[in-house]
Symmetry: C2
């Protein structure tokens, strides 16, 4: 195993190495496609479990829509096809024959879902209709990067239909809030929310809300989005229904999703020179127990105790692994589990056994010391809590230190390209000013609800509201 | 809602109607692709949860491999490409360009998984390697039928590598046993297990074990398979490793899977003229509570009690729904939930409330009567248990009544085409005799371990072992 590149000076190399060394992913011969290995997939399963529970508790039901969508469906909503056309993968042949119409591997499922909605929604009694799907989708990427940008990725896509604009808007904000809760309280990643600009919004949507995090290298990461689609798609798919007053009406639609990109965000936000650091609430293995064997001595008593402590901790709801490999030194094991970011490590050797204690350490080095067998459960709970909070605290401090305020692009143009970070400024709202940012490889990330600047960052027109600008992944 | 066709006289029409009326699936404009609606998907989620737990408990880890596989990968194992070539869907264009090599949407992932295995397995220390994937796969079907045969379907595919043939064989049989347990003890579907014949086995495998059920119309349904791939694929993908004796060796591989077809099996095995009948252990809704409102009276007290009983039952681990629709008559609700196969129904009206009781019925009509609030939890547990057992008992009796023994094809050829059923007979093992079955649209389903016949069903050669013959889905 090679040493990881320095995370401060070679962040991008560090990321590319750590995801392979920690066995989150592996490359494949298919351009832009990766294998998500068991440890990486286990993180996704933790995220899925948490979010799926909340999606169901907020009244949505899971379903499954086809992978392949007729190409013509994409053409029904003009902005939508324009936005997605360059990224589509096409199936042209199947069952030994050329297809009459090419089928698209879904880059997102609005068109298929809406086609079905138009069959299912006939009366106001059919509303609201609240569906979610966990699925793989495909967008052909020129510069793929594991988790952040891959041709195939995994996500959930929620699709809902409502009788009123207000209700649809409430839905969009409710799911955005669920995402923020997941990001901050489970992934320990501070996020900022706001509307996307007209150029950055989802193709075909009325409004796109985003939640954005800032990675340690100063680049923003769009963590997920929640779209108020309003009636554009409903009209494109002729989604007529009879309302309570027996008039013909169109429902107001929403869609919202988060992807396996969240794993990339986790890696970048919390990692250090030793490797991953996973927040306890999302770590597939929260506690690793390393038995320390004395040469020549009987290891069975220590092993037995290690397993019994593990099962006590499992009963308390922890995800625990005992590293029983007898061919590896404790040092090699420490290195291995640190690289994988396991938040809490417990060591137990012959002397500890005598003293009825273990040595407990955490991945952040906040505390290290002896804990009696008796107190272990509570100690692990407290420490997991401490690590979880500390990770969010550190990430927040880091993010805030990279959040700059500036009146004019001319002032921050150089910094945005070198040190990166968020730049809060004023904006007139014109696309022509937004386009100026491209020269500095930056984009508007989201509109803020504040208005602290009088003028636009680029022109002399008045600012409508503050905007957050950054380079992004 | 139309009345369902008679299940005895029009089984096939009944199936086609019930899956739509019970809202398990809906048709889409893409040939062979269906939407699995929330109620259908919820059944799949129950199956997934049960099986995933066992897959993990037996030492496998979930991972995710790419949807698209280079066409050339399929050509590495000669039998494999021959078996799958006619069913492949090809991506030829992506990102606005024609691809240099077409990519295949995976019909199964052996080739991609084995390519990765050849990277991961370098030493005997890397074995056994036990991976599972929950995924969508695609096989172009000429005669699609929801759940039974669709172009896209959902499954889990296990892939393992072992140091010895024996260990791989043990793995294949262990997973087959897990499947049998799932089928019989959860889905309440009796199955028979055995080897597939050489013509019916998985393309590229050494041996394929199958578990087969018989549907009420007399057609067999292959419920799933477990393959001993042995070293064919390992050699095709150059999966060399260093064994304990420092020799170069090839691992022994297995793969095994079950699909959304299990939902079709559930529907057909247990359904009746009123609709679905779901075994309690797998039903997404196990208990429905129907409050009976008295016209003009305050419904809030009854509703409150219904919800409180529901939460008591949920605490006991039951999946419960309260049907609060005030615009539907109790009769309409009964019809609705019977169609959906909910195993237990609880009614509560004003008089019941006075008497501190509810009326409990089950979907099979085994029992109907008043149960006090106090005894409800235990009564529901007992009744769920009773329904679960009764369903398996009935299915087993039905299956056994359709299991025929016969010496010669000439004797059963007519019956196999008309009444259907399993036909146990002797077989010499020659493909030419097996081919005779095609004239009667039948195939060998599996080889049995018994040998009760001296001669082949077709020729006069000695029988090697008994074989089970049927028409199949």
């Amino acid at each position: 195993m090679q040493k990881l590149p320095n995370i401060t000076t070679h962040f991008s190399d560090w990321y590319n190495d750590v995801i392979y060394q920690a066995e989150l992913v592996d490359q494949t011969p298919v351009r832009g496609a990766v294998v998500i290995r068991p440890y990486g997939w286990a993180i996704w399963e933790e995220i899925k479990t948490l979010l799926d529970k909340r999606i169901k508790e907020t009244g949505h039901k899971n379903a499954s829509f086809p992978l392949l969508i007729p190409e013509s469906f994409f053409k029904k909503e003009a902005d939508h096809v324009e936005g997605f056309a360059p990224e589509l993968a096409l199936v042209t042949h199947a069952g030994g024959k050329e297809l009459e119409e090419p089928l698209v591997i879904r880059p997102t499922s609005e068109t298929m879902v809406h086609f079905m909605f138009s069959r299912w929604i006939k009366s106001w009694r059919d509303l609201p209709l609240k569906i979610n799907q966990w699925a793989n989708v495909m967008r052909w990427e020129l510069r793929p990067r594991p988790f952040l940008r891959t041709t195939e990725f995994f996500w959930q896509e929620g699709h809902t239909a409502h009788a009123t604009h207000q209700e649809a808007h409430d839905e969009v904000l409710m799911m955005l809030q669920e995402y923020v809760d997941l990001a901050q309280n489970y992934l320990a990643i501070p996020v900022v929310t706001g509307l996307k600009s007209e150029t950055e919004k989802f193709p075909g949507a009325e409004k796109t809300y985003t939640f954005e995090a800032l990675m340690p290298d100063g680049k923003a990461l769009q963590m997920g989005t929640s779209h108020l689609l309003s009636q554009n798609f409903a009209k494109a798919f002729d989604m007529k229904y009879q309302d309570k007053q027996e008039n013909i009406a169109f429902p107001f639609l929403t869609s919202w999703g988060v992807t396996t990109r969240l794993i990339g965000a986790l890696v970048m936000t919390h990692g250090d020179d030793k490797g991953l650091v996973l927040p306890p609430k999302i770590a597939p293995i929260q506690v690793v127990i390393v038995p320390i064997f004395k040469k020549g001595a009987d290891s069975s008593i220590i092993l037995e105790k290690a397993h019994s402590l593990a099962s006590d901790l499992k009963e308390r709801g922890f995800r625990v692994e005992v590293d029983i490999d007898e061919n590896k030194s404790p040092g090699a094991k420490f290195y291995y589990w640190e690289l994988r970011g396991v938040p809490i490590r417990i060591e137990i050797g012959p002397r500890d056994l005598e003293k009825q204690q273990v040595i407990v350490t955490d991945r952040l080095g906040l505390s290290k010391g002896a804990v009696s067998f008796e107190d272990l459960g509570q100690a692990v709970e407290d420490l997991a809590d401490l690590v979880q909070k500390e990770l969010l605290k550190r990430a927040l401090a880091k993010r805030d230190s990279q959040w700059h305020k500036s009146e004019k692009l001319a002032e921050f143009a150089k910094n945005i390209e070198t040190i990166g970070g968020f730049y809060q400024t004023g904006w007139c709202g014109k696309e022509s000013c937004e386009q100026e940012l491209k020269k500095h490889k930056a984009t508007t990330r989201c509109l803020l609800e504040k208005k602290t600047y009088d003028a636009c960052f680029n022109c002399s027109d008045p600012s409508k509201q503050d905007v957050l600008i950054a380079r992004s992944y």
